[in-house]
Symmetry: C2
Subunit: 331 residues, 2 copies
């Protein structure tokens, strides 16, 4: 028997038309029936049943083309291998899902060219909004994004007057300084991060100010640039120790840098030197690192919530400033 009712591409994915043929309804009726609950009426039930049986999966491209919305928000991070950024993203993903959205990420490694390219890509995808966790203080990048006519919000790092959900980094720096001052350190060092990041910049500034205000201004040769990774922390710690072996404590821009510093101290047999990190990643607890905890989940939640509100309310997103907390451990 020759089954000529079978369309040529019988093995292709089912569409609304497939369901329409099965149920004897029109394609548009099927579309509508799918929008209402399966138990709304007879045809709704029939349509849902057929959809399930056929393994029908709405075509996102077609829906987007028609509705002009994707229900997707894009997030830009500098690197997912920085667990802080990964935590932020996963929480954004969670909040988005709760509100019926999807999230997608792109890593930009703080490279302006990649930042633009990835935003371009997300825009082709027609994402409904953008969360930037990789903003630079100079504003070039964020100013450009703000002119793109897509809702956006920054998180973790701020830039100019753009809406940003951040931690009070200057306070965080002060917290670190306060701890070192309180424990009576006379010669302290600072391992700094990139100045293009408001987080790094703010932490360092807060630290320096608190030290100066306490009458112990930080000498230039007690500061070394470490970047944001462990390797930079190693090099910077080595340099600091070479310049002044008499140092008894260092504050660092983040826990990775602190970890790097710790490895040098261990290697050089200088476990007497105290170290303060920043962020409180899980490895910090494991090595007993004193650190400043940033409220990462809350940052992500607020940023995502604010962006989603902005998308749905058609107005700009709101920023916020949250408070960090000192966590004293062994180091």
């Amino acid at each position: 028997v020759h089954d000529d009712a079978q369309p040529p591409n019988a093995r292709s994915r089912p569409t609304l038309r497939t369901i329409a043929e099965r149920t004897g309804l029109h394609v548009s009726s099927v579309s509508r029936a799918l929008q209402r609950p399966p138990d709304a009426d007879e045809s709704a039930a029939a349509v849902h049943a057929a959809a399930l049986e056929l393994g029908y999966r709405p075509d996102a491209a077609a829906v987007t083309l028609r509705t002009r919305r994707t229900k997707v928000i894009g997030m830009l991070v500098h690197a997912l291998t920085d667990v802080v950024q990964a935590i932020l993203y996963e929480e954004v993903e969670r909040v988005a899902a709760e509100r019926g959205y999807q999230a997608v990420v792109a890593s930009t490694h703080d490279d302006p060219a990649i930042q633009r390219a990835r935003v371009e890509l997300l825009l082709r995808q027609r994402v409904d909004g953008l969360i930037l966790a990789d903003a630079h203080r100079d504003g070039e990048y964020v100013d450009w994004v703000s002119g793109l006519d897509v809702p956006y919000v920054l998180v973790m790092r701020s830039a100019g007057e753009h809406p940003a959900v951040v931690c009070d980094d200057e306070l965080g720096g002060r917290l670190a300084a306060g701890h070192l001052l309180r424990t009576g350190h006379e010669r302290v060092g600072l391992l700094t991060g990139p100045v293009f990041s408001s987080a790094s910049f703010g932490r360092a500034e807060g630290f320096r100010r608190a030290m100066a205000e306490a009458g112990r201004p930080l000498a230039e040769d007690h500061q070394a640039h470490a970047g944001i990774f462990a390797e930079g922390g190693r090099d910077a710690m080595d340099a600091l120790l070479d310049r002044d072996p008499g140092i008894t404590a260092v504050a660092t821009i983040n826990d990775y840098v602190a970890l790097g510093a710790l490895s040098v101290l261990r290697r050089r047999g200088r476990s007497d030197v105290h170290v303060v990190g920043y962020n409180d990643i899980v490895a910090a607890e494991a090595v007993g690192l004193t650190t400043v905890r940033s409220p990462q989940l809350e940052l992500a939640r607020r940023a995502a919530g604010s962006l989603l509100d902005a998308i749905e309310g058609e107005r700009p997103a709101q920023g916020a400033v949250l408070v960090p907390e000192l966590v004293v451990r062994d180091t």
Copy 2:
């Protein structure tokens, strides 16, 4: 003057039609002109110029709807906060970009319901292929995916006969055992991970076998289930120490668990106990953790390459087994 040439939604994004109106060409000619290099001929040049000037951005949804390809591959990880998974993803992202593809991730937290939901979502997006870094040995999940008519490949964890790019975990376990045997430990423990992960399972099996073959079979009470996070490592290490305070070394399923174990040892003043981790994450170097290094970048590269070949060659992806390496440090 009333400008009636202006369409109603003048402020909306430029489309091929906008460029067509600008250049006096037909939409289809514009589409074709955009496919050839800007310097191919006069109209190509004019069209590219207009596109640039207008800030034209192809609509991914429309292209996909028309061509049935997205040039996007989806990756499923158990958690991006596990830096190993983040590394895998970022490398996949890189390889994909090199070959003109985009990557998207979804975290599933090893929850079967989430795994299916996220795959469904990616399928609606019509991704061209799937990389699973969160496979379970029981096969339920992967078997289902394999029946979905979308190219796929597993990475890091295998399942049945499905194509998988993995590390020789059983060998990795043997490497850890060999090290402990060589350094003369008499009473060693093992902190195990979830059996649903072939990686955890393989490492533990390799370790046990090597110990047994050396005439030092691992007693049941010298093993404790730790999962894959630091917290589990803490609890398991505590349990092990309570059961046998005479233990002198432990092997762990991964570096996070090792870090957790280390924190307990530090707290209990038992820095004499040796620990071996697995993966060699950056924190391992920082704390001087002896560990087994898995070739993560290579795993990701091979998996992504193999998937892309499969997509373009319309045949199944290839698996591979790579070799781990022992990294001896202080612990």
